[in-house]
Amino acid sequence: MFDRDIFKALIGEIADTREVEIGCDECFEQLDRFVEMKLSGLNAAQAMPLVQEHVEICGECREEFEALLAALRSTGER
């Protein structure tokens, strides 16, 4: 009926669903600071929990977050 892996991912997202969540635009707005906190070894998830929750649920924003983190970590351009 559904692709099992995608179905499981959706059920996981439903389990993590909160009444209030930020959207992709708000996440994008704050993503640069979030990534810099991560790179500095600070607890970004605690400081910016709504961004953390969003990247856990939104596959697209998570993919971009991980890519940005990898780019900045590797180039040292921060």
């Binding site: 692709d3 179905f7 439903i14 959207g23 697209e60 921060r78």
Partner: protein, 200 residues
């Protein structure tokens, strides 16, 4: 030594703009190739286009840079999103929404590796969940969710529904809330479902 945020802004707004742009282009190209990881070779011919498109967005949005992070972090963020969004669109360019939405119904075959009892339980859960989708969601929510279940990325779904990624995420957030409430009312916890699928 990397220029300060103010130096970047002054350079990009002043008579040395072309040199600053050339320098920024190098930074973004280097970062984007790493950001793309294993996909970099496959889309190498597009990397320059992605960076060029990102540079235009960066120049158009210089006033929105608030200086809360390094300028290059902000610029790379725009470049990464531009490239990934474009790649997702391109990958799904020839696939219609109808195709994706009708696909789940077409493939009802169970995993042959699975023991029959477990497969039957999984099918029963998915059928129940499909009923929740039909009964709880609006037409738009149902379309968006089924497209997501078909693996279509947000940008591609949004383009086809004449909306944008942010609005679509919010639509799906409302859909998830409705489904979560219905699952709770039916005593079907996400943990139980994941357990039946061999997770958690």
């Amino acid at each position: 030594m990397e220029p300060s945020n103010d130096q970047w802004l002054v350079a990009l707004r002043g008579p040395t703009r072309d040199e600053a742009l050339a320098e920024l282009r190098v930074v973004l190209m280097r970062g984007l190739r790493i950001a793309l990881g294993g996909q970099a070779n496959r889309v190498e011919s597009s990397v320059e286009d992605f960076v060029q498109e990102a540079l235009i967005k960066i120049l158009d949005n210089l006033d929105s840079f608030r200086g809360e992070c390094r300028f290059t972090t902000w610029a790379q963020k725009i470049c990464v999103r531009t490239a990934f969004a474009e790649m997702r669109r391109s990958r799904w360019r020839d696939v219609s929404l109808d195709e994706v939405i009708s696909q789940p119904e077409a493939s009802t075959a169970a995993d042959p590796q699975l023991d029959p009892e477990r497969a039957a339980t999984q099918t029963m859960i998915m059928e129940k969940f499909r009923r929740f989708i039909d009964e709880e969601l609006t037409d738009k929510q149902r379309t968006a969710l089924l497209a997501a279940l078909g693996g279509m990325p947000l940008e591609a779904v949004a383009d086809r529904m004449n909306t944008n990624r942010n609005a679509l995420y919010k639509l799906l957030h409302d859909a998830r809330k409705r489904l979560k409430r219905r699952m709770s009312a039916e005593m079907l916890s996400p943990q139980d479902v994941l357990g039946a699928f061999g997770e958690g």
